[in-house]
């Protein structure tokens, strides 16, 4: 069994909340955030359709390029930032340890 990694969710005040995430459950970042009861809707359940799991990666390792579906959603977001991603499209891997992100959903 692999050890948990830690990702950090930064709030508007700049404080970082540590979130322990298991790497052996095949989770997406969205699922990990939802499991920790962060306020994201994830309406579409992970199909890159609703962008309610939009996050800004503040500090993160090199990740695989977003799919066309994800790019299409991202390009449409009014609050797009340089580090914007849909957290449902990011697989949890050990490399994500130490990632810092902000929640960007605007519901």
């Amino acid at each position: 069994m692999q050890e948990d990694i830690t990702v950090y969710v930064e709030n508007a005040a700049g404080e970082r909340v540590a979130v322990p995430v298991p790497t052996d459950m095949g989770l997406s970042l969205m699922e990990a955030l939802k499991a920790n009861e962060f306020d994201i809707l994830a309406t579409c359940g992970g199909m890159a359709l609703c962008a309610t799991c939009h996050v800004e990666l503040v500090e993160a390792p090199e990740l695989p390029e977003p799919s066309d579906d994800e790019l299409y959603m991202l390009e449409n977001l009014p609050n797009l930032r340089d580090g914007s991603r849909l957290s449902c499209q990011i697989k949890i891997t050990p490399e994500l340890d130490g990632t810092v992100l902000r929640l960007m959903s605007d519901h």
């Binding site: 809707l41 309406t43 579409c44 359940g45 199909m47 359709l49 609703c50 962008a51 309610t52 066309d68 790019l71 299409y72 959603m73 991202l74 390009e75 449409n76 977001l77 009014p78 609050n79 797009l80 605007d106 519901h107």
Partner: protein
């Protein structure tokens, strides 16, 4: 304008809405199904018809499109009727406790029970967070869709967005509008390189204005839109005059008009009683992904279960004097309507 009279009106033709037809049919209740999409199947047909689903009991693997095809076959004996490509806009409870629903195309549906199986909801334009934007909706200068480009001939238009539709419309309207401005928050258009190159050259040739790293933050006008405030990254805000502002930020699933029907909601889902998946309004039920309750799982198979319990409760609601008797299909076969 057409009128339909039925026992149960099901809003949403996804797997759960279709199975509700079956469960209602076993109890000899007639169903009419309405969906905003032009075909049945909901997300399964619209979004992932070729994806396999692995958690439908009895099917080790089944393509989403196949599941819908099978479900249509399964409910055929009950002769359900459909209104497709229309969204239910209004719901009214009549004096006798029955309901009148009206769709976007003014189809009227009279029914005794309403079952909302709306899944994600319906897809609506995503609106940017700008104060007063709503003041200019409805023909006063702010639109979220371009229905007829000719409408903008010789007008001043500001488009906002970075997706394919923003690029495509910018290219189209460059020739039509008197003055066209495309505002994009980013510096690049990652989605469609050819369209992005075309927009860049139209801007260089002076056929349109392209404002990158910029945001529309305010809208102004006395009763009708007159100007918008633009804020470029790291520099000062300024206003430009315009007749129309069209934010094109794609579609987002929303509950839509049913938000205004007096249903108890929680986090964009309809709160139901798990005894029978009834809502706070007697005669209205909500099943599948659109409802919420403690322990809710958004699974197709949970929606099927909810449909079965809903149907027996709807039966008692419609026929308060009749006794509900559970009939097994293995014993009785499938009745027809």
């Amino acid at each position: 304008m057409s009128t339909v009279t039925t026992d149960i009106c099901i809003i949403g033709a996804g797997p759960v809405g279709l199975f509700a037809v079956f469960e209602a049919g076993l109890l000899k209740m007639r169903c009419h199904v309405v969906d905003a999409l032009p075909q049945v199947g909901g997300q399964l047909s619209e979004i992932y018809p070729k994806k396999p689903i692995y958690d439908i009991p009895g099917f080790p693997s089944i393509l989403a499109g196949e599941l819908i095809k099978n479900q249509m076959e399964q409910i055929a004996p009950f002769h359900p009727t459909f209104t497709l490509g229309e969204r239910v806009e209004d719901l009214e409870k009549l004096e006798d406790g029955s309901f009148r629903l009206v769709t976007s195309e003014n189809t009227e549906i009279y029914c005794k029970v309403v079952v909302i199986a709306g899944g994600l909801g319906s897809f609506e334009p995503r609106k940017p967070a700008i104060d007063n934007l709503a003041h200019y909706e409805g023909g006063k200068g702010v639109n979220y869709m371009i229905l007829d480009p000719e409408f903008y001939r010789d007008k001043r238009v500001v488009l906002a967005g970075g997706g394919d539709s923003a690029l495509d419309w910018a290219i189209f309207l460059a020739d039509v509008a008197k003055e066209l401005t495309l505002v994009h928050r980013g510096t690049t258009f990652r989605g469609a390189p050819e369209s992005a190159a075309r927009v860049a050259s139209l801007a260089e040739e002076g056929h349109m204005r392209l404002l990158l790293k910029s945001n529309v933050t305010e809208v102004h006008g006395d009763g009708k839109l007159e100007s918008v405030t633009l804020v470029p990254d790291g520099s000062e805000a300024y206003q430009i005059e315009t007749d129309y502002f069209i934010p094109l930020f794609g579609l987002v699933p929303k509950l839509g008009p049913l938000e205004n029907w007096g249903l108890e909601l929680e986090k964009s889902a309809i709160v139901v009683n798990t005894v029978d998946y009834s809502t706070n309004i007697p005669g209205i039920y909500a099943i599948g992904d659109i409802n919420t309750y403690p322990g809710k799982l958004k699974l197709i198979l949970c929606g099927y279960h909810e449909a079965a319990l809903m149907a027996q409760s709807a039966y008692s609601f419609i026929y308060p004097d009749k006794k509900f008797v559970l009939k097994y299909t293995t014993v009785n076969g499938v009745p027809t309507l």
